[in-house]
Amino acid sequence: MTTETHSTTEHGMSNAGYVRIAAILAAITALEVSTYYIDLGALFLPSLLIMMAVKFVIVVSYFMHLKYDNKLFSWVFYAGLILALIVYGIFLATFHFFS
């Protein structure tokens, strides 16, 4: 990575950009809370899980700068996350959580 690209991409967002991201996160949170009061039927669980995942990725990518940082950091973090998902997915399946 060159000096120029490093300085412009590692912390590439302006403060206004961070405020916009926070506004998006707040809007998604409001939508999440609304699902508690509005009956979405079969869409309830998938919509909540998708909104949770979107918020997670936005914070990690923009606030934690993984989108702009070296890919090794992404590998290190997502390896831990995926390992946790696999280990505890198996753990819950063993106890018949999904059945």
Binding site: M1, T2, T3, H6, S7, H11, M13, N15, Y18, V19, I21, A22, L25, A26, T29, E32, V33, T35, Y36, L45, L48, L49, M51, M52, K55, F56, V59, V60, Y62, F63, M64, N70, L72, F73, V76, F77, Y78, A79, G80, L81, L83, A84, L85, V87, Y88, F91, L92, F95, F97
Partner: protein, 198 residues
Amino acid sequence: MTSDSHADGGAHSSTGLSNNKLGMWLFLGSECLLFGGLISTYMLYRGRVGAGPRPSQVFDIPFTSVSSFVLLMSSLTMVLAVSAAHKGDDRNTYLWITVTALLGATFVGGQVYEFTAFYNEGMGFTTSLFSSSFFVLTGFHGVHVTVGIIMLMSIVGIMKRSKVPGSKAETVEMIGLYWHFVDIIWIIIFTLIYLIPA
């Protein structure tokens, strides 16, 4: 990585990346396993209420929604602190770090209030498997937020005495990474524990 970053940052590995940053990401990756275990245990036991109250009987969604919003906004103020630190703007760095700590303290205060309310409604730590797993999970998260507040206030004090070893900006960024991690864990807890009924 640049010569710039080498000059103002801490020790760098043969990859050219900051050892501190790599260490922090490794730590956060390992924390996924800790919270994964706690969340899974809660999911498994959330229906085991025994004679105690059910989650839907004690959870106060409007109150927890406001707490979640406060923690989410603390992530914004934290990223503004990191941005100011990278610009060498000490005044705004102190300001945003202090605001972040105050928002974090508000969240922890809300959690203490919530725990007290649950206890008064008959949901103690040993009332049921649900209550035990709930208090352990949210309690661990609360402890993480509290540790984050202590780190934030400590770094303000250390920076004001100009005793930060290595790069100020990198130190603030490391604490920022920890703080955002605490926020993303709450994003998961809020959805899986509070919004999805047992």
